[in-house]
């Protein structure tokens, strides 16, 4: 390897993963540069978005003291099942989540990513926006720098934090052509609603907030809706598995409008004014479809590596990005110390990552991705459960059935039994 270099470490992408890595490195006095293709960090990024307070607190202690860092802290979680004209919601109110570091907080990525990048900058990292990395510089099968436009920037180690579109990860020979089954298309709409109205509608005080996952009414496409309250905006969107969507010949944009037209969603968004439409891709292949995590002169973090978990109740993206980025920073320190940048040395990143909650969760829920491809979960069961409540609550002038008997009859009549048994065991096994 050539001795000349411009930086110790070059990071591609100033999202949560790239910024977390940059922070760790800059704090250790290492020369680190972050190249961001957007006009500013977060300009290209979309999330629901919520993240775990303790994970952020590990990176920026007492982050909540900085008003810029988050929108609202989550105290209410709702899980809703929709079917035509019906809905059922589980509403969990956890006011003990009012304690800092807060269990979860909502963020807007253009604000949050920029804030995090500023923290990295304050620590001594160089952040370069408007910088699109097209390729790498190779020497003896080892990555020794990056190419951006006419410029070449040499670094001892490159950290790829490019996000869901893992173009460079493929160029680094750490991943192959992606498959539609392992990706979801996420569409998001941001709405403006005065703070006071948000707080009245959802019974919130101070910076309290709610998150709502919404299953069903997505024309049978595996996926689901999300809804979060921010300070004076609402985040709403729909996630759809790309393969199932196209196989059913359904247009993503039309499924979204259909979904939005459900009375439950209309009520959530009533009187709110849409101020932005955005879309992004989510890798949801889980543990089995992680990319190779390291190579000669290079490591991969966050969405680029496929570090996203979709296990129904737990949907982790930013958390894993922050965690894998932080660990990449720690690993890079050790790699620099060893002065060996071959994969024998960069492997330490994977070894450290294996000890993290992110990797362990991905491994633990490795069957979840496959299980959640089951279309029955997104179509049949929300209908089944709403139908059961209809049967129990509807007055038809006759004496009431015994609740248990009505439930058993309803389920026997409606459930595709073999499938249901398979799903129960599949669910128990994978979730």
């Amino acid at each position: 390897m050539s001795e000349e270099h411009d930086f110790d470490v070059a990071i591609v992408g100033a999202g949560p993963a790239g910024c977390a890595a940059a922070l760790v490195l800059a704090r250790a006095g290492i020369e680190v540069v972050v190249l961001e293709r957007g006009q500013y960090p977060g300009a290209k990024n979309v999330s629901g978005a919520a993240l775990y307070g303790p994970v952020l607190n590990d990176i920026i202690p007492e982050y909540w003291e900085d008003k810029e860092s988050f929108e609202r802290h989550l105290t209410t979680k709702k899980i809703t099942m929709l079917s035509e004209a019906r809905s059922m919601t589980i509403d969990v109110d956890l006011r003990d989540f009012n304690q800092t570091p807060y269990n979860g907080v909502t963020v807007q990525r253009p604000k949050f990513d920029r804030w995090l990048a500023e923290k990295a900058e304050e620590a001594g990292a160089m952040i370069l926006p408007d910088s699109m990395v097209e390729d790498f510089v190779w020497e003896d099968k080892q990555i020794v720098g990056i190419k951006s436009g006419d410029e070449i920037l040499r670094a001892k180690l490159v950290i790829i934090a490019e996000g869901a579109n893992r173009i460079l990860t493929e160029k680094a020979k750490l991943a192959k052509q992606p498959h539609a089954r392992h990706y979801a298309v996420a569409m998001k709409e941001t709405y403006e609603l005065p703070k006071k109205q948000i707080e009245e509608r959802f019974h919130l005080t101070g910076t309290e907030g709610i998150s709502n996952e919404i299953l069903g009414h997505s024309r049978g496409v595996p996926g689901g809706g999300f809804f979060y309250t921010n300070e004076n905006t609402l985040s709403f969107g729909l996630i759809l598995n790309a393969k199932s969507l196209t196989e059913k010949k359904l247009k993503a944009t039309e499924v979204l409008e259909d979904f939005k037209n459900h009375s439950y969603i209309r009520k959530l968004l009533k009187d709110a004014k849409m101020i932005e439409y955005s879309a992004h891709m989510i890798p949801e292949g889980g543990f089995k479809h992680l990319t190779k995590l390291y190579g000669n002169g290079v490591i991969v973090v966050g969405d680029a590596a496929g570090m996203v978990l979709n296990a129904g109740l737990y949907i982790e993206g930013i958390n894993f990005a922050l965690e894998s980025g932080r660990i990449a920073g720690e690993a890079a320190k050790k790699i620099l110390e060893s002065n060996d940048y071959t994969k024998k040395s960069t492997k330490i990143y994977k070894n450290l990552l294996k000890e993290s909650f992110a990797y362990k969760d991905l491994k633990q829920f490795k069957r979840a991705a496959k299980f959640l491809e089951t279309e029955r979960i997104f179509n049949h069961y929300p209908e089944l459960i709403n139908g059961l409540f209809y049967r129990l609550l509807k007055n038809n002038g006759k004496p009431r059935e015994k609740i248990t008997r009505a439930a058993i009859k309803h389920i026997l009549k409606r459930a595709k039994l073999l499938g249901a048994i398979k799903d129960v065991f599949g669910g128990l096994n994978s979730l």
Partner: protein, 103 residues
């Protein structure tokens, strides 16, 4: 709940999103010859969240599907769903393309 709001079209929704178009460089291109010869499913038309892919009409169309990069949200779904490798997918050059404020 009586407010039967008018559904916004995708064009109206995209008007809310700031996009700086690079008029000198189409970051994504498709190969109409491949589309014409191999494609029967047109997955790009269904997957794209900005409706950038449209069915073409008329005999003299180059391929079954046309693509316009102007409203592209850079999500990458078209590359992933195309089974024939017809989508040459690249990010826009630094400073161009979508610029989210709230997402």
């Amino acid at each position: 709940m009586s407010d039967a709001k008018k559904i916004m079209t995708i064009e109206e929704k995209l008007d809310l999103t700031k996009i700086t178009t690079d008029h000198n460089h189409e970051h994504i291109t498709i190969n109409p010859a491949i589309c014409k010869e191999k494609c029967t499913t047109h997955d790009c038309v269904y997957g794209c969240p900005a409706d950038c892919y449209k069915f073409t009409e008329g005999e003299d169309a180059e391929g079954p599907v046309s693509y316009d990069y102007i409203a592209c949200l850079e999500c990458g779904v078209c590359r992933v769903v195309c089974p024939h490798g017809s989508v040459d997918w690249n990010n826009p050059k630094g400073g161009f393309g979508v610029e989210y404020k709230h997402s």
